[in-house]
């Protein structure tokens, strides 16, 4: 495992300045990519799966000789900052990235952090890839944030529509944690469901983030007997318990969420009761994963002991940054070039079989291309693994 030392970052700084001076260098110069997110405390799982996918990918690149952008081959270094899910710390983290001369940052993981770092990112010319859904982050005049995944107001309608057509779903109930991100996602989900003509039978019930027993929470929701129960913005820790409680209370309908989940966590926490649970994932199901995806999973597992399925969607941000820089090397220290490149950028998606493309989308949601086109893979959990339910595209 890589541990940064002061010495090493000093060396990297020297390398960078040497490169800037245009002198030839025997060793690869280093390209630093930042990560600002939560890697400790209750929500650690979100940030750690981000950070580890970036580190696993960077180690892979460096081991195979580096990443060539323009005429230079770089070693990739990931600089991570733990914001402890505190927006005040997130600002400090973004300032630190600016200080390190970093222009491309992945994170933060939550709404409040993403909103708080915006002034810093815009003042210092940093493009950042948050995992937060508020539209105003990506809609003009904001221009430095790129949504790093599929938003729930995009995946939700696709899932509901699919279930209406194939499973005959007519009524839907929502339940969310009493916290900014899940509540916003619930509101988005309710709006989407109503637009599709679904009857929303319950959407008021919320639970505290620290709830450990969901039976009393779920009882009134299930009394409305919905065909579909949506767990809005559910954290991977709560999902298995919610599913288990719902099933033990005798609920027979479908359960879905619009966030990424981990198969092993579901298996340990809910076992067979989780069968049929619908969630959004990346491209690691056997039908879709390319050799590159399988190698990534293998390298991740070797490096950190176990894989986290949340990384299926989180592997993409770094890939997008590097590929876009490759498309126009001038973007390396000039985000305006990067932004211009985004409009036309297109490259093959290495992690998925077939001819899927990496490109920026978001015109219909944000009025500008400020979202990475992650394949919208809707999974269904079955006996410990995810199976692909359907694949859709976001525009």
């Amino acid at each position: 495992m890589k541990r940064r030392s002061i010495l090493k970052s000093a060396a990297a700084a020297v390398a960078l300045s040497a490169m800037a001076a245009g002198s030839a260098w025997a060793e690869n110069p280093t390209l630093k990519i930042g990560f600002v997110g939560v890697t400790s405390g209750p929500a650690a799982a979100w940030g750690i799966s981000n950070q580890r996918s970036m580190e696993a990918r960077a180690a892979w690149i460096n081991e195979t000789g580096g990443y060539t952008i323009g005429d230079t081959t770089y070693d990739i270094e990931i600089v991570s900052f733990d914001d402890q899910k505190d927006p005040k710390r997130a600002i400090a983290g973004m300032e630190k990235m600016a200080q390190e001369g970093i222009h491309y940052v992945v994170g933060p993981n939550v709404d409040d952090g993403a909103a708080a770092v915006r002034p810093v990112a815009e003042a210092n010319g940093i493009m950042y890839f948050p995992y937060a859904f508020p539209k105003e982050l990506y809609t003009a005049p904001a221009s430095n944030a790129v949504l790093g995944m599929v938003a729930n107001y995009q995946s939700g309608p696709a899932i509901y529509k699919h279930l209406m057509e194939n499973e005959g779903v007519k009524t839907v109930a929502f339940i969310a944690a009493n916290e900014s991100d899940p509540l916003s996602q619930r509101d988005g989900g309710v709006a989407a469901a109503e637009a599709l003509g679904l009857e929303v039978v319950s959407s008021n019930v919320t639970y505290q983030v620290d709830t450990t027993d969901f039976t009393p929470v779920l009882t009134p929701v299930l009394r409305t007997q919905p065909d579909l129960l949506v767990l809005s913005g559910v954290s991977p820790a709560n999902a298995p318990q919610l599913i288990r409680s719902a099933r033990e209370l005798g609920y027979q309908g479908l359960i879905s969420t619009e966030t990424a989940q981990d198969a092993q966590v579901l298996q340990e926490g809910a076992g067979d009761l989780a069968n049929g649970f619908i969630s959004v994932g990346g491209a690691s199901t056997p039908e879709l994963a390319s050799d590159a995806m399988r190698e990534f999973v293998q390298r991740y597992t070797d490096m950190f002991g176990e894989y986290n399925d949340e990384s299926n969607t989180k592997v993409y941000a770094l890939e997008y940054i590097l590929e876009t820089l490759k498309a126009d090397p001038a973007g390396i220290d000039n985000v305006d070039v990067f932004k211009a490149t985004m409009d036309t950028f297109e490259a093959p998606n290495p992690y998925m079989v077939g001819d899927a493309k990496l490109r920026y989308v978001g015109d219909s949601s944000f009025g500008q291309k400020r979202q990475v086109a992650v394949p919208l893979v809707v999974n269904v959990f079955q006996d410990g693994t995810f199976e692909t339910l359907f694949v859709a595209e976001v525009d």
Binding site: R3, P87, A92, E95, A115
Partner: protein, 328 residues
């Protein structure tokens, strides 16, 4: 007027030089502009911690400062975005509103002592977070975003403070704002501690019944102190909201309330400047350990435990006698 010894005057002069001249020069020389925000954070958190320290002074463990910081942040944000008020006017109003709410809440709960008061204030932080999530005026879960930077402050056409959005480096402007606010806060704190009020507080800290029996109006004093404390919290929170240009229900939460209290413990409860030093060490300590990656939290908490073992009465218990802070 205050009577300070020569050595205290010197200390004060050095401190002023350091924060108003030394720090900006050092940052300019090293190019570490990220330190502006880090130090601004320290200053703002130190302002809120000063309030917590003041409630300690009347023998109350306050784990509710996060609530008032959140309140201040929201009041300022709402006044600026919805009423179009100048930030500079909303700032004192945020503090005053926090103080007003503190009076209402303080009247019943200040009768509690010891861990009971500590716990009820802890619950208070959660109550404020949940209220912010439920109310329409706070925009609920979506928070208030895109708050404009502080505008120009001018009196009779003379610009006292320029519009922050026209500045080349608003971070630096926030730093100076915070530095001034922090100096004012601690001057006020020092003044209170060395006044008759401070004397009464100390007698309450020792024994409320006794203080009451010799004619001290204890319920008036503790509400007054709690209001001043919350005023500081509101100010700190309001400036934070302006820097982040956004306020969410989670902007200040229980963890912040606990941290404010820890700042006071770490600095030392017997010293006016304790919370300032405590905040600096706790906040900066985390930042300095940034290089340790995944061991950051482990080392940070180990150091905290070790510090407590060595200096159970706070960092300032190390100090040379008669310098800087004020003991009883």
């Amino acid at each position: 007027m205050l009577k300070l010894s020569a050595i205290q005057w010197t200390g004060l002069a050095v401190f002023f030089l350091a924060i108003f001249v030394g720090v900006p020069m050092m940052i300019a020389a090293t190019g570490r502009t990220d330190l502006f925000f880090t130090l601004t954070s320290v200053g703002l958190l130190a302002i809120a911690s000063a309030g917590v320290w003041l409630t300690f002074y009347i023998g109350r463990i306050n784990i509710g400062q996060g609530a008032f910081a959140l309140l201040g942040a929201y009041v300022s944000a709402i006044l600026v975005t919805k009423a179009g008020m100048s930030f500079w006017l909303s700032l004192p109003l945020a503090g005053l509103f926090a103080a007003f709410v503190a009076v209402l809440i303080g009247l019943p709960i200040l009768r509690l002592r010891g861990v009971y008061f500590a716990m009820i204030t802890l619950v208070l932080t959660q109550v404020f977070t949940l209220t912010a999530l439920a109310l329409p005026i706070t925009n609920g879960a979506k928070g208030i975003t895109s708050i404009p930077l502080p505008g120009e402050l001018s009196i009779l056409g003379i610009t006292l403070i320029p519009d922050f959005s026209t500045l080349e480096n608003p971070r630096q402007a926030f730093y100076f704002t915070t530095a001034v606010l922090m100096v004012l806060t601690y001057a006020a704190l020092y003044r209170i501690v060395n006044s008759r009020l401070g004397h009464l507080c100390r007698s309450m800290q020792q024994n409320e019944e006794l203080a009451s029996s010799i004619g001290v109006n204890i319920s008036y004093i503790r509400v007054l102190i709690f209001a001043i404390s919350s005023f500081f919290g509101g100010i700190g929170g309001a400036v934070f909201g302006s820097i982040a240009q956004s306020v969410y229900p989670s902007s200040f939460q229980v963890a912040d309330s606990v941290n404010f209290m820890l700042n006071c413990f770490l600095g030392g409860l017997g010293y006016v400047f304790g919370p300032m030093l405590g905040t600096l060490v706790l906040y900066f300590g985390w930042d300095l350990l940034f290089e340790l990656g995944k061991y950051q939290m482990l080392i940070y908490s180990s150091l905290l435990i070790f510090l407590m073992l060595v200096l159970p009465n706070g960092l300032l218990s190390l100090r040379l006698p008669k310098k800087g802070g004020q003991d009883k």
